[in-house]
Amino acid sequence: MPTLQPTRRAMLRGTFAALALPWMESLQPLAAGEPVAASKPPLRLGICYFPNGVHPPSWYPKATGAGFDLPFSLEPLAPVRDDVLVFSGLDKAASHRGDGHAAKTANVLTGFQVSLGSELDAGGPSIDQAVAAVHAGRTPLRSLELGLDPLYPGDSHHLAHHLISWQAPKRPVMRETDPMRAWRRLNGSGETGPASRAAATRRVSLLDDVLADAKGLTPRLGYADKMKLGEYLDSVRSVEAELAFIQRADPREWTPTTKPEPGQPPPANPTHAQQVKAMLDLMVLAFWTDATRVATFMFASDNSHRNFGAIIPGADGSHHEFSHYNGEKNRAGIFKQIVRWQVEHYVYLIQRLAAIKEGGGRLLDHSVLLFGSGFSDGNSHQANNLPFILAGRGGGSIATGRHLRYLDGTPLCNLYLAIGKQMGMTAEKFGDSTGPLPALGGGEPPGAPAPSPKPPESKAKTEDKPIPAESKPKPQESKALPTSGPVKAATKP
């Protein structure tokens, strides 16, 4: 149990203090005598969303089963292919109709129809929040929402591009979009605060009154204003809950067996790559220290016009414009590289979690990391055959290292339901699910063709270098793209 500390930030320092084992021991399992039952690691759910879909020929493997090939955008998966499941055939029927990106983004984790009326309505809670509800109160943070595009007020259509996390159909969970702020949220950074339990009680009481006072204001505001006030009040509630968390005995049954290195704050003027890595590092940190068990990260809001010119040669222009490649080879060529760049960073996250030992295994083994987009082909916006990848063993329930091809129209929500049940959800239905997705733990999806034989070339994977944790100058980074011969060969089994 951590020492009782007054402020929320000091509390989070306290969280780390609880892990204050000598560094030499940190990569070792805890000494004998630690209660075995108390040290079973919990499951973590991390979801990475990327905008604007994919270039299908560069994404979907042709071969299924363990011998799946890695098309261009997926090549970076080579070093972690034994830890991932690549899906085909998953579908979000509620997005078959509806305009542009909005109707396909806000519901990517809810599976319901998005309503873009005067108030944005995502139809139901998102899978991350449904799981967070199960674990509420067990960790200092209920969940962690990260993104990189700030949210500006606007109408429901505008907001729908930015929001994937929903506590309730009309109640989005706002994201932290500034890496430094997010870092400070997870790391006390030496700030001083009143150092007594009385001070913490004073703060909780003050915040309580702020919430009570604000009730009178809400009915007097228009929709966009209510959203902004809601964001304010949700944040007040979070701070209050985090303060309250440290005032009682730590309910966490899990005590991490290794501790993070002292964290460095993100750089002051980060490049886009540094921003992405900073956010992914924070997800790692939150899972590692059991600050939360549920986190989402949006590489960008949908319909993103980010210019990748500084990262990918020739990519000067808008991500969204490239995603509408309209059959043009040059544009598709850039687009699939942008997707691939995002896959590289997903791999970075996987590798970081794989490198952390806990409870006699890897943190990755106790995680489910999803990576996906709101529609498949960036050019035509179909919401069927969604590009989704899963990494992590889900506590041993998931047999990774395969490409699973499901029958067309299999609800994406079946995957969510299966994951949710693993993580303690008791409901038998989620979104438009028809049942938990089969074959995650092994075997073939029903009605699927026989798996293809495994190509021998896949052995070459170890030669690929992972993205280093520290930021690197741009030229080196582009060299790190795994374009070496053996991996390319894997695409032509």
Partner: protein
């Protein structure tokens, strides 16, 4: 009925002059300027205008005219290198297109396509899928009724989302026709100001643009200081960023409130704190906690608070273990942490369509706009008496506040926004080896010079023509030294006359010249682009893909001068149309080095600051540029006014036609204070909601 009138109108137009216009102007103009390229078997772009020689045939090709109209409107054709028709000739062609070729393009060409590919689903019979009923448009005259929808229709067709995959697909030529028509409609909507919108009607979309924005860190810190006379300790609040209110922000704002309030009651808190303690507490010994809290709320909530609203805070005081007045502490923290303080609240109060801000919200907006702090006593009094609702009073208050040094906070933001010099504070810094004198102090002085210059135009009754042609600069000692102006020392900024023609006006500002340079050298292209985009307000599209940058193509030509390299670059047709607009203007500023000082040579090369425009016009250096800018003053003033409007109203999306109305009679002689008054007294600053003609979001 409408249809009959329309047909009759078209007929009348024909009789009255349609035929004549074709014969006297339209066809002769087209033949003279277009047929060289667009005729015969090798007609460029496959567009053979010779086929249109006969008016009857011409009228029958509305699809071609859609393309032509757009090219004409945007002056994309004839190409800049070819002879250009006069504006009245362009106009005559456009008028003819609207009245003849396009007279019933909707019924003839478009409606059949919509019927075939869209009505199945998007009509009452098809269930109005997605809430879209396209069959609602019966005639051309009604096309504008769906103005807000057309951009979406255009987008889903362009994105291949519609028609859905399992439906019949339009042929490429049908798709193209529809695309041209939609583009044309959308363009038309954007410039048609003849149909006035009713500003009292508030659409849902418009209402959602209104927002009770949160205070920035700076504004919050100033608000605390206005209440307590205490400065928030450094490092507690993060730097101003986006409008996010994440938990870490709440956490630090709570810290700031608690630390400042605790400090407020300390004996050694300082003169300002003592003044506020006397004003709120000690000066009125009989006042109750509720009375003190109400007065405090009046300051930090920017409006009178009902007693019920401060009841919770009063309870806190009553429950406090501390002695009076320190027992007020938590009550004050609660007021500061209330959303009523943290956000500039714009209540709706159920009166939808009620457009005008109440006096308190108006005073608060004005005060945070100019000073980034809550209204001071005179402004608060004008809100209490509702006097601020009168044009003369709000204008007088604004003018009074502009004269206060705190307005530099507004002017700095205006300078960054209007001049695009925000980059100076960020990643863009001159090479420290070559320009060791460029430090943070100089950067701040450069920015402040720009801010003082713009503010003086708004404040001192200077004409807007001063923007490009001022005859004076605002400098402190540091800038005077930088510019080589004698006799100015110290920190304060003052107005100094300049006579050599090299300074005075936005183009000679060191902040601008530095922000548009590379770290180690000047950039003709960046400076030209800045003039064309930032100052003249024209769009320069991004370079086409796969064109080597100047740097790459220069590798082979290391011994060429910048001018030669640019000239080579411009020979590529895909580069020419933009570079021939940017580069000449940029050359005029070559006499200014990368940190904005006058130079006589560029390395070993002589300065080459001649400009030759595509029109053949040529001029040299700052004098020439100033003359050119003066002749474009109307555009420059329009651009500046729009930026100022956006900043004062804190939003974009003001209907184009309203903007044109507001600025209709601006001229170079209009004074800055008149412009400022016009904006702060306009309905756009006073109203919470606005209607918008602009389509989509």
């Amino acid at each position: 009925m409408i249809l009959i009138l329309l047909l009759a109108g078209g007929l009348l137009a024909d009789l009255a002059g349609g035929e004549t216009a074709w014969k006297t102007t339209v066809w002769p103009t087209l033949s003279r300027f277009c047929l060289d390229c667009h005729s015969g078997d090798k007609a460029k772009g496959g567009l053979d205008l010779a086929l249109l020689a006969d008016e009857k045939q011409a009228k029958d090709r509305p699809d071609l005219w859609l393309k032509i109209a757009r090219q004409l409107d945007r002056k994309q054709m004839p190409p800049a290198t070819s002879p250009q028709p006069m504006d009245n000739e362009r106009k005559a062609i456009r008028t003819w297109i609207d009245q003849s070729a396009h007279a019933d393009i909707y019924n003839k060409r478009i409606k059949p396509l919509l019927t075939r590919y869209c009505y199945d689903c998007h009509s009452p019979g098809g269930g109005n899928k997605g809430g879209v009923n396209l069959s609602y448009i019966e005639t051309q005259a009604e096309v504008g009724n769906l103005a807000k929808l057309w951009p979406t229709v255009q987008q889903v067709i362009k994105d291949n989302e519609m028609p859905p995959k399992n439906r019949p697909e339009p042929s490429p030529s049908e798709r193209e026709l529809l695309g041209h028509w939609l583009t044309y409609q959308i363009d038309l909507q954007q410039v048609d100001c003849t149909k006035k919108t009713d500003t009292a009607t508030m659409s849902k979309a418009a209402a959602s643009h209104t927002w009770s924005r949160p205070l920035s860190s700076t504004e919050y810190a100033n608000t605390i200081t206005a209440l307590l006379g205490v400065d928030v300790p450094a490092g507690v609040l993060s730097k101003d960023g986006d409008s996010s209110l994440s938990p870490i922000i709440i956490d630090e704002r709570l810290d700031a409130a608690v630390l400042s309030v605790d400090r407020f009651f300390a004996a050694d808190a300082g003169v300002a704190a003592k003044h506020q303690r006397d004003r709120l507490i000690n000066g009125r010994p009989s006042a109750s906690a509720a009375a003190v809290l109400s007065d405090a709320a009046r300051i930090v909530w920017r409006r009178p608070a009902a007693s019920a609203e401060v009841a919770k805070a009063a309870q806190k005081v009553a429950a406090s273990a501390a002695t009076w007045p320190a027992s007020l502490g938590d009550g004050l923290v609660l007021l500061l942490m209330s959303p009523n303080c943290q956000m500039l609240v714009e209540p709706v109060d159920g009166r939808k369509g009620q457009a005008l801000r109440d006096p308190y919200a108006l005073a608060a907006r004005l005060s945070y706009l100019l000073w980034q702090e809550p209204p001071d006593p005179p402004l608060s009094a004008a809100a209490d008496s509702k006097a601020i609702l009168a044009d003369d009073e709000i204008a007088a208050q604004a003018a009074r506040m502009l004269r206060d040094p705190r307005s530099i906070r507004f002017a700095r933001r205006l300078a960054r926004n209007y001049l695009g010099i925000a980059v100076l504070g960020g990643a863009k810094l001159p090479d420290p080896k070559r320009f060791p004198q460029f430090d943070e102090a100089l950067r701040q002085s450069m920015e402040d010079e720009a801010a003082h210059f713009l503010m003086s135009i708004l404040r001192d009754g200077r004409p807007l023509s001063d923007l490009v042609d001022a005859g004076y600069v605002w400098v402190d000692g540091r800038m005077a030294k930088h510019y080589g102006l004698p006799g100015v020392t110290g920190d304060g900024f003052r107005k100094v006359a300049v006579r050599d023609g090299q300074r005075g006006g936005i183009a000679g500002l060191a902040a601008v010249l530095t922000a548009t340079s590379y770290p180690g050298r000047t950039s003709v292209v960046m400076r030209g682009k800045w003039l064309v985009e930032q100052i003249l307000g024209d769009d320069i599209p991004p370079p086409p893909p796969n064109v080597p940058t100047l740097e790459e193509s220069a590798a082979d030509n290391a011994n060429m001068t910048m001018r030669q390299r640019l000239e080579q670059h411009r020979r590529k047709p895909e580069c020419a149309s933009c570079h021939q607009r940017m580069d000449p203007l940029g050359f005029c500023l070559e006499k200014y080095d990368p940190i904005g000082r006058i130079r006589t040579t560029d390395g070993s090369l002589p300065i080459d600051d001649r400009a030759e425009l595509i029109s053949g016009e040529s001029f040299t250096g700052m004098d020439g540029l100033r003359t050119y800018l003066r002749s474009n003053n109307q555009k420059i003033i329009d651009r500046f006014s729009r930026k100022l409007l956006g900043q004062i109203c804190e939003r974009g999306g003001i209907p184009e036609c309203d903007i044109r109305d507001l600025f209709a009679d601006l001229s170079p002689a209009t004074t800055g204070d008149a412009l400022f008054r016009r904006i702060v007294t306009s309905v756009h600053f006073r109203q919470r909601f606005f209607t918008t003609d602009s389509p989509g979001r």
